[in-house]
Structures are given as C-alpha cells and as structure tokens.
Amino acid sequence: MTARPSDLPDFEAPPVAEVVLGVKFTIPGGLKVYHIGIYWDRIKSKFPKFQEQPPLPAQDEPAFSFVSGPPPLPRCWFLDDTETRLIQLQADRFIHNWRKVTGEEKYPRYEAIRDEFVARWDEFCGFLVDQGGSKPILNACELAYVNHISKESCWTEPKDLGRLFSFLATDMSGGAGHTLESVQCGLRFKLPGGNGHLNVSMTPAIRKQDQQEILRFDLSARGAMESGEEAQLLKWFDGARETIVRVFTALTTEEAHSSWKRKT
C-alpha cells in the first residue's frame, strides 16, 4: 500500500463522505455498447449492482455541441453489495468512488481507495486488450473529496461558520438587525507544478439519506495528463491528495480540527 507522508495533517474522524478518483481517456475505436455488458460480466462478482445515469459532460468544453452518429453511451454505475464502492464508466471516463451510505462506515483512507482504483483501472485496461483493442489514452484525471459537515461540528447557524472556516470572519452577524440567511462560496487554487487546479466549494444542503442539514465542502482537483503513463497518473493523484489535505486543513479552524480529532 502507498505510504502516507509523515507530515501530512491527519484526522481521526474527518468529515469526508465520498472520495472520487477518475480519469478521462480516449479509446482507439471507441467504447461500444457490447463492451459494457462483457465488462460487467467480468466484474459482476465484486460489483453485482448496476444503474444507468446520464453521461457526464466533457470537462472544460462547451456543453452544446453538434452530435452525429450513434447516441452517446450512458454513464454506467457498477456497485458493490454495500453500495459504498462503485465504478462509473462512460465512453470517455472511468471513475472509482468510495462513499458513505449509512453514515456509519469508517473512512478507509486515501491509500486504500487509491489502491482499489489502481486495481480496477488495471482490470479495465486488461479487459480492453483482451477484447482485441488497445489500452486507453489518458487525457485528464480528477481527485475529489466530498465532505459533509454536520451541525455537531461547531456550527448550528450560518453566522457560526466563521468558527468552522478560517477564511470567514468570526463575526458574521452583519450588524444589528440583520440575519445572515445563508453562506456559499467557491475558491480555486493552482496545483503545484502546473498540474491543474483545485476547486473548492462550500454550500449548505440537505442530505437525502437522513434529511439532515449539512455543509457540503468539496475539494476537487483536476489536471491534464501529458504522457498517459500510469506512473505519472499515480504521482498526480498523490500530489493532488497532498494539496487537498493541506488546503482543507488551512481553510478550516483549529476548533473544527478538534471536533474531527486531528492527530498530526
């Protein structure tokens, strides 16, 4: 398993609800409908559940485009029995998610999730070769952490959010007679070494699972892949993860760290 950098901030109970590792690729000859069924048959013992979703749009490209030829493939979800792990596959994307379903699941940590992604990705590439094709050409990659910050984590009202986020003022009352109704914001950082960008967003939401009010705090890194080598891909993921953890730590307060049981 990949080793964790010793100086990276670590939390015993981080608010992470989902971790996403994904790649965007081109397959010479394209991914066909029949590939989907054969691929599922190969992984069905581990991912016995299936759902269809609308395909994700191309990244950083206009959504409107002229389409000719056959309709686009859907985005297929292959889920394990617990539905905490799923693979999302569409014509140009392969994505591996770990997520909380009941809310009681223990976060397995990035290193374990990354290793699972690598195993699933290698399996998919091997499948394509077995089908007489060639390995996908990597174009871009993404690592995202979705945090659900519940009201136990030092906030109950929007005006408390300065206790949670270091980039917000501690006094957000807006002065006498004003009531702060809602806070949402977005930040964008450059990844070190020109490796892409990290988008950070914070928005209040209500979770379907338990209908609880939460703050959804997303940190999502995306970058282009030049060489398409797997070693470069894994290096990118590790670098993006380190940036995400450091930015998460910098943007949140010590009081919040305490509620998430910061260890280092």
Partner: protein
C-alpha cells in the same frame, strides 16, 4: 388528483416567452444537445429537471461545476438559494423518497429523487419569497402533491411522475373551484400569486 389523465392533450404544452427564456438559461449547461422542440416541452423540463436544477441560473460557475458536472454520487439538495419556505420543505420532500413501494396499497412507488428535484426547481423558479410552507403529501403513481390553505383560499398542486403538473384551486368565499394543467412557469407564478394575493 383532480385532472383526469385523458384531459391532457397529446400536444406539447408551450412555454411562454418568459418561460422559454428561463428554460433556455436552465439548459445552457446540460450535456445533451437540445432541440427547440425539446426546450419548448414542459415535460422535457420535468424529466430533465434534475440537470436543469443543477445548472440553473443563480448557481455560480464554481457551484455548477461542483454539482452539475460532479463525479460525486452523493444525493444532497443544495439549499443556499432557496426561499425560506421552500428550504423548510426540502426535508419533508426528501422523506417521501423513503416510502415503501405500495405505500398506498394500490401499487404506487415512492416519489423519485429526480421528481423531488424537479419540484424544488419549479418552485424555486417561481420566485415567490413569501409563501407559507405547504403540506407535502405523496400522490399515487409516484407523484408529489403540495397543499396550501391560506384563509379562504386553498391550492393543491400535483407533480406527477410522468412530468405533468396539475392544480386545483378553491376560493371558499366566492364558492369558486378550478382545476387545470400548469403549462409553464408563468402559470405557476400566477397561481401562487393568486394564493397570497
């Protein structure tokens, strides 16, 4: 509820010029190429409302990025730009999704999350800040019904799982009752305006 299914004509309801402008903005960031006919279809808005909701005006580019183009699979409803009465209704709407199949003993499924998002999307775009919270009840065949009782006026709006929006309004003082189909946002705004007007 009150409008029988066969009262809905086969022709696609048309959005008004204002409604079309709204729809155009809503669909700008969707992934599928949109035809004029599709944009003009209220049913399209209903069935694609999940995406429209995610890429809707008022959502800043970063937020759209985080939601509409998200690889996250967690089901949450962003609430930051909802009016207070609608924000207070979201949890009750979501609870409907947890109903068991055949909850009404007539084989009805629970309302889908996509329908809940559609309902929120429509009500959000109606841009009424001062409504009271509605009663939220499941309707047969996977629909959702909202009910307001305000003085002598009552309004029921049903969002069906097939993309129709139907209403029944009654004014007890004037002893008037009317039911029809809501074709566009202007219809909805007008009805909600009647309720509080």
């Amino acid at each position: 509820m009150m409008v029988p299914n066969n009262s809905i004509t086969a022709s696609q309801p048309k959005l008004s010029p204002r409604g079309l402008a709204d729809a155009d903005v809503q669909f700008r960031h969707m992934e599928e190429p949109i035809t004029d006919d599709a944009i003009l279809s209220a049913k399209f808005l209903a069935t694609k409302g999940n995406q429209a909701f995610q890429g809707s005006p008022g959502h800043l580019p970063w937020q759209r990025w985080a939601e509409g183009d998200s690889t996250s699979t967690m089901d949450v409803i962003p609430t930051s730009d909802l009016p207070a009465w609608l924000r207070a209704s979201v949890a009750r709407l979501l609870r409907l999704c947890a109903l068991e199949f055949n909850w009404d003993s007539y084989g009805s499924p629970p309302p889908s999350l996509a329908l809940v998002k559609n309902v929120i999307s429509w009500l959000r775009f109606a841009e009424k800040e001062t409504l009271p919270e509605p009663e939220v009840v499941p309707a047969s065949a996977g629909g959702i019904q909202l009910e307001w009782y305000l003085g002598k006026r009552e309004l029921e709006i049903e969002f069906t799982a097939t993309g129709q929006i139907e209403y029944l309004r009654s004014d007890k003082e004037r002893r008037e009752e009317k039911e029809d189909v809501i074709k566009d946002l202007d219809d909805l705004r007008s009805l909600l305006g009647w309720l509080i007007g």
